[in-house]
């Protein structure tokens, strides 16, 4: 791991931003645990020291809701990306390794999924079971695994045909060694870059679904959902809308900045 100081400034900024968002998502719910309690008498209360972002139209603490929403977005998106990457990589390596029928079937499946817009897949799954975590997770992971599959398969095919893999096979090494020493070191840097982008896509997809009302259901706080709820009150309390937008924008910016400027050969 390269020390932080030797990295380019965009990456450093990315790490700092991501750390800030993570800190907020992890510590926020502990500091402001009550995200559901309504105090209708205090609706649209202006920000104060105790409530840095004021209260919403139902008198709920905005900062508590925001922290909880950020935590939800991050862990659900993280889970989706990890599952998609794992599934995509396993199938990609399998496809490159076995070739023949396995490859044809898997490639056909991947192309089929790719032909559908990602958000549509998630929408179909969400519509099947309103707002459940599980369906959202399955939908997002299924929409994302294809890119990992395609990348891993293409790269692995080249690597598996190379003289260094042939040499390792002659030396008597099995599949585990070839994956560990030949495939993984080549795939890992690309996977990390793809995963940071994938995380951004998943977070955006989650809030998009929340915004159109098919994602996480109220009263559970979610960034997109918070935006929809805040829209009618924009003129009286703009912070209600701006706060989730800012958290979303900062998270996405951090993830985009994280990627290496160029992948080292």
């Amino acid at each position: 791991m390269t020390p932080l100081t030797s990295r380019a400034w965009p990456q450093r900024l990315g790490y700092v931003l991501l750390a800030a968002v993570l800190l907020f998502a992890l510590a926020g719910p502990l500091l402001w645990p009550d995200y559901a309690g309504q105090q209708l008498m205090r609706f649209l209360e202006t920000p104060s020291l105790a409530e840095p972002l004021g209260r919403d139209q139902l008198g709920r603490s905005v900062i508590a809701r925001l922290a909880s929403a950020a935590r939800l977005s991050l862990w659900l998106a993280g889970l989706c990306v990890l599952s998609a990457a794992l599934l995509g990589c396993l199938l990609g390596v399998l496809s490159a390794w076995r070739g023949g029928w396995t490859d044809t079937v898997l490639r056909g499946l991947a192309d089929g999924v790719l032909a559908l817009p990602g958000l549509l897949i998630v929408l179909i799954f969400s519509a099947m079971a309103q707002g459940g975590f599980l369906t959202l997770y399955i939908g997002l992971a299924l929409a994302q695994w294809v890119e990992y599959f395609r990348m891993t398969r293409a790269r692995s095919r080249l690597l598996l045909a190379s003289p260094h893999v042939e040499a390792s096979r002659l030396l008597g090494f099995g599949p585990a060694h070839i994956v560990r020493r030949h495939l993984w070191p080549e795939l890992a840097p690309m996977l990390l870059t793809m995963m940071s982008f994938g995380l951004a896509t998943a977070i955006l997809a989650l809030s998009t679904l929340g915004f159109v009302g098919v994602g996480i259901q109220p009263p559970m706080p979610e960034l997109g959902l918070m935006m929809t709820e805040a829209l009618p009150h924009y003129s009286e309390a703009p912070q209600l809308l701006l706060a989730p937008v800012a958290v979303l924008a900062l998270t996405l910016a951090a993830l985009v900045l994280l990627r290496p400027l160029e992948v080292n050969p």
């Binding site: 040499a167 030396l171 008597g172 070191p185």
Partner: protein, 457 residues
């Protein structure tokens, strides 16, 4: 056309000087050849001039031409001269070519100007190099010799005034070497400058001009080729000349034992191109056999077929029973491609030791015998010179105690001194464990000395 001068060219790694200060004058039409063994910093010279030194290395000095000065410490200031003034014919052409581009468009990229003219020029250049048939091939479909010629075509198409040829004859058969010599000579005759970095004494002799002999980053002898290559003054130059295979004393070979492998009626074609047919081959335990053929004739393919790596179109191979799969080993023509690129050598060799249950001391003994320092193992394969890496590849196969070693041009990339040491080490070690050798080479003199029997394909 004016002379290109290099003043005080030095290469440093932090404070350590890898290449001592060097003043060179490159005159149009006169070859300058740098001779030396692997690891003597020859290649650094070319990269320092181009401005393509690996990260962590730093050049000093300056390049002067046409009244302009280019300080060498700033690698970027010569980038706009690439193709026009400076061109490099890189080492390891197979890795230097773009694997996703066909030969013709790849060569045409070197032309500055109209795309149509570029393709015509590229086609003419490929024809003159005998590569008409390969125009639409991808680099992985080319033999080492063909890839070298493609790289030559790509490097010279732009008409650069100074061509830096880094080990250009490495891995070429004698016919292709003659072609290369003629091409380099033509390049000189057209009034351009040529700096050749090589360990091929025959090439240096053919090009003539000035010769510079390097040892460990230091110039030990400098003068006209005719004098240095016939009456060398420095002991190192004398040793270098004596290390050519022609000058080796005869080597005693062990007698052939029981049969090991039988190939019958082997044939292989790639598409419409028939490489060979009806080849019968017998190898016996402990035997040393050379396989000689022109580049692109399928020597490597035949060897791979015997190891079971390539399927034969016709015919079959029988192996002696009771030998493990790891008894059939291969030494690659290009060692860089035979190691996982991102795994340190230490780890790679440790894995092999663990696999075959040998102690670390077995490796240390081999390293010592092949004159390799243990510090080398901390590096990645790409950070080690070709000669050192080939010796490490040899060590890697020796650890498995093979019954047959198929060596595919194993020393064609090594300088004469290292080649002699490596071949002697190889033969000693193989003799020690009674391993047979199938040596693919284009060097008849080497085949004569290193093997007891020769097969022509």
């Amino acid at each position: 056309m004016s002379t290109i001068h290099l003043h005080g060219l030095t290469v440093y790694q932090q404070q350590r000087c890898l290449l001592d200060p060097l003043d060179l004058g490159l005159h149009p039409g006169e070859a300058l050849t740098v001779l030396g063994e692997s690891g003597s910093g020859k290649s650094l010279l070319a990269h320092a001039i181009m401005g393509t030194l690996p990260a962590g290395l730093r050049a000093e000095g300056e390049l002067r031409t046409d009244g302009r000065r280019y300080p060498l410490h700033d690698a970027a200031n010569r980038r706009h001269l690439w193709g026009e003034l400076l061109a490099i014919l890189p080492q390891e052409p197979v890795t230097a070519l773009d694997p996703t581009m066909r030969v013709l468009p790849q060569v045409a990229e070197g032309w500055r100007g109209d795309g149509h003219l570029a393709r015509d020029a590229a086609r003419r250049r490929l024809d003159s190099l005998g590569l008409q048939a390969a125009e639409h091939h991808y680099p992985h479909q080319l033999s080492g010799g063909m890839a070298q010629r493609v790289a030559f075509a790509a490097a010279t198409l732009g008409g650069a005034r100074l061509l830096l040829a880094d080990e250009p004859s490495k891995g070429l058969d004698s016919a292709a070497c003659d072609t290369l010599r003629r091409l380099l000579q033509q390049h000189l005759d057209s009034g351009q400058c040529l700096l050749t970095i090589t360990h091929d004494i025959a090439l240096a002799r053919a090009l003539g001009g000035q010769v510079l002999v390097m040892q460990g980053g230091e110039v030990v002898e400098h003068g006209p080729a005719s004098r240095i290559l016939s009456r060398p003054a420095h002991p190192y130059t004398q040793a270098l000349l004596a290390a050519e295979p022609q000058a080796w004393p005869a080597i005693a070979h062990p007698a052939a034992g029981d049969w090991l492998l039988q190939g019958r009626g082997l044939a292989k074609a790639y598409g419409s191109q028939q490489l060979f047919r009806d080849v019968d081959i017998d190898l016996a335990a402990g035997e040393r056999v050379a396989l000689l053929a022109a580049s692109g004739a399928g020597k490597s393919t035949l060897g791979n077929m015997l190891l079971g790596l390539t399927r034969a179109d016709h015919g079959s191979v029988r192996y002696r029973d009771g030998l493990p799969r790891t008894a059939w080993q291969k030494l690659y023509q290009d060692p860089v491609q035979a190691f996982a690129p991102r795994v340190p050598l230490h780890t790679a060799l440790h894995d092999v030791l663990k696999r075959c249950g040998q102690p670390w001391s077995a490796l240390e003994a081999l390293l010592h015998r092949l004159k390799l320092g243990p510090a080398l193992l901390q590096r990645l394969p790409s950070q080690v010179s070709g000669g050192e890496l080939q010796r490490l590849a040899l060590i890697r196969t020796l650890l498995l105690r093979p019954a047959l070693l198929f060596a595919d041009e194993p020393t064609s990339r090594l300088d004469p001194l290292t080649q002699r040491d490596t071949v002697h080490c190889l033969l000693d070690e193989l003799g020690r464990i009674g391993c047979a050798l199938l040596l693919v080479t284009h060097d008849a003199a080497l085949a004569d000395k290193a093997t007891a029997r020769r097969i022509r394909l």
